[in-house]
């Protein structure tokens, strides 16, 4: 097994940062700016990028900890991270409750008597809160963090195997994915149904990212640079774009033969449809080919904002979910105009960058022993 690279790959931070921006833009309903996001140009969207890179960085960071400090210490760190994500998720859930509680008091148009059914969740807080704490009740746009919690919660064991027998770990991940699809395995959700992001399926992307981080990327590099693979990836992206175009111009849909659309649809996001996975792989192949690891622009000021966001992914992700709520709220209360949509999208991203910068600054002063308070535990402990 090739030793993992010591220096952090800034491309990961860059693309995770961009993915966070795109997720934010996609989460604002009826936002004209979301037309620039990749989900409109192919099968996969920013979620795939986020999950893959999260798997990669998790293996990179905790893999080193597991080698240096052993299984117990690394596992403890991973579970602490999972706990942080859980707390962050519950925090966002409370904000969601606050918003629907406000709307239920202030909006009562008879035209939307049916939509007001969403407030039923407020009428039985005993059930709603309980199910939310169990991660079974998840409001719209709040499915990614629960997925991440489950993936992190099971990651110590996976990482242990991954560091010893990488191919076995990858094979297990693929087998679980196939089994999840074949036997329709998923976690239960409230009030009914199953998780929007099936963890048994989406773990494939996380596990594949982790496998790449511990030397898999090195094994694949020859394969990924072969002209045949590159052209196949390009062709697949073009094909995917053509199919997506038929969604926006339904009249083009008649050009797709019926047997083909019967075979292709549905392109299932819940279970990470293989068409989505291949689309992500194609994007990755072309990205790795055309953006080298030592690309000078990665050190330039221009890409810095995205990289900083990618380096604080959990905080910025949560902030993005909150800002998307806030942006929609402002649009509803103040103005829905196109300029309001553009303005709130831009302000949102600026805020994400500003907070990421603040977090970096904070991390720096915390790391500097000279300025560290002597008794961090008394001051509330290290976070």
């Amino acid at each position: 097994m090739a030793p993992p690279p010591v220096e952090r790959d800034l491309r990961l931070d860059l693309f995770r940062g961009i993915a966070l921006w795109l997720i934010f833009l996609d989460h604002i309903p009826s936002n004209i700016v979301s037309w620039i996001t990749i989900r409109n140009y192919g099968f996969s969207d920013a979620t795939e990028i986020f999950v893959f890179i999260s798997g990669y960085t998790a293996a990179f960071v905790y893999g080193r900890a597991m080698r240096d400090r052993g299984f117990v210490v690394a596992a403890a760190r991973i579970l602490k991270r999972a706990w942080q994500v859980y707390v962050a998720h519950i925090f966002l859930f409370v904000i969601y409750l606050a918003e629907i509680a406000y709307v239920s008091r202030s909006f009562e148009n008879p035209l939307y008597a049916e939509e007001m059914g969403i407030f039923d969740f407020l009428r039985q807080p005993d059930v709603t809160l309980y199910e939310a704490l169990l991660l079974k009740f998840k409001p719209a746009n709040m499915d990614v963090l629960p997925l991440y919690i489950v993936l992190l919660g099971t990651f110590p064991l996976f990482l242990w195997v991954l560091l010893r027998r990488p191919m076995l770990a990858l094979a297990t991940s693929v087998a679980l994915y196939v089994a999840a699809l074949q036997f329709e395995i998923n976690l239960p959700a409230y009030p009914e149904g199953t998780w929007t992001f099936n963890p048994f399926a989406w773990q494939l992307l996380f596990g594949f990212g982790a496998w790449c981080a511990v030397g898999g990327a090195g094994r694949l590099s020859g394969f990924m640079r072969s002209p045949v693979v590159l052209s196949l990836a390009g062709a697949y992206l073009a094909f995917s774009l053509a199919i997506v175009l038929t969604w926006y111009f339904p009249r083009l849909g008649h050009l797709i033969p019926k047997w083909f659309s019967d075979w292709m649809y549905p392109i299932d996001k819940t279970n990470l449809d293989v068409l989505r996975f291949v689309h992500f792989l194609s994007l990755a192949v072309l990205t790795v080919r055309f953006i080298p690891r030592d690309w000078p622009a990665l050190r330039s000021m221009w890409l810095r904002p995205a990289i900083v966001c990618g380096q604080h992914s959990l905080e910025i992700f949560c902030l993005g979910v909150f800002l998307a709520f806030a942006a929609h709220f402002v649009m509803v209360q103040v103005s829905e105009s196109v300029s309001a949509q553009v303005l709130s999208s831009v302000i949102g991203i600026v805020l994400m960058v500003a907070v990421a910068w603040l977090l970096s600054w904070y991390k720096n002063i915390e790391r500097n022993p000279g300025t560290r308070p002597p008794d961090a535990d008394l001051a509330g402990g290290e976070v």
């Binding site: 989460h27 604002i28 309903p29 009826s30 969601y96 918003e99 629907i100 709307v103 202030s106 909006f107 009562e108 148009n109 008879p110 035209l111 939307y112 008597a113 049916e114 939509e115 007001m116 059914g117 969403i118 039923d120 998840k138 409001p139 719209a140 746009n141 959700a189 009030p191 009914e192 149904g193 199953t194 929007t196 969604w247 339904p250 009249r251 849909g253 659309s261 649809y265 549905p266 299932d268 819940t270 998307a324 709520f325 929609h328 709220f329 509803v332 829905e336």
Partner: protein
């Protein structure tokens, strides 16, 4: 393109000068309601001078809520709008709508309803409850597919009507995947779709209706339902006039 022109012509023909300004306003969304697929059973029923329509839906087909009156909702208005467009034809519209019903449980009712009611066309309005309860969109689409197949098998036509566009609750209820699933299902089965989501979004964007108005009064809701009824009646009449492509294929 051809059907687009037909639909557009239909709008200009049907919006008579006698109608109030409001109705002309709601025609701004008429290009989103296109007669793409024929309704052969409706055509047959019109020829026989007796058109029976059944609406299966949830609360947004009732205009219910506190103090709501069912006769103000679009199905009753559709009966009037169709009667006006089809002089000499006896039009009846029956509503079978239950609040808080998902597509899956409606689908069971539908199989029974088409057998007992034998309508020329069944209008299936659904999606919002599924979005609130976050039913897997694929399961939702399966229910739609089964329902459509059941109606067609019982020798009735079917029109799908997707959820309302509700800007105020957009960040809480993700309706889009369900609206899309119904668009897709309509294309697959080659049945007409009343794209209520797109139509209402157009009205919201152009300011035809203030969909964010927190009013408790029903007058705006009634005007929206009137517009839905008018556009729906256009869709039915125009689709019934299309040549039946299925006759050639089958």
């Amino acid at each position: 393109m051809k059907s687009f022109i037909i639909a557009l012509t239909g709008v200009f023909l049907c919006v008579s000068p006698a109608l109030a300004g409001e109705q002309e306003d709601c025609a701004v969304a008429a290009h989103l309601v296109t007669a793409d697929y024929p309704l052969p059973r409706v055509a047959r029923a019109i020829a026989q001078k007796e058109l029976k329509v059944v609406v299966v839906g949830s609360a947004s087909s009732l205009l219910a809520g506190p103090g709501g009156k069912q006769e103000a909702a679009y199905p009753t208005r559709l009966e009037a709008a169709l009667s006006k467009r089809l002089p000499g034809v006896k039009v009846t519209v029956a509503t079978f709508a239950k609040p808080r019903t998902t597509a899956d449980s409606m689908e069971e009712d539908i199989e029974h309803l088409v057998q007992t009611e034998k309508p020329a066309v069944l209008i299936w309005q659904t999606g919002t409850v599924d979005a609130i309860r976050r039913i897997d969109p694929e399961d939702f689409r399966t229910a739609i597919d089964q329902g459509v197949a059941a109606v067609l098998a019982a020798d009735s036509d079917v029109i799908l009507m997707n959820p309302q566009y509700s800007p105020r609750t957009e960040s809480m209820i993700e309706v889009q995947p369900y609206a899309d699933a119904m668009r897709f299902s309509a294309l697959q089965h080659e049945v007409p779709l009343f794209d209520r989501f797109a139509v209402m979004r157009q009205w919201g964007e152009l300011g035809t209706f203030d969909l964010l108005d927190p009013t408790k009064k029903t007058d705006m809701a009634e005007r929206v339902h009137q517009c839905v009824a008018e556009l729906l009646a256009d869709l039915i009449v125009q689709s019934a006039k299309l040549p039946n492509a299925h006759d050639n294929h089958q």
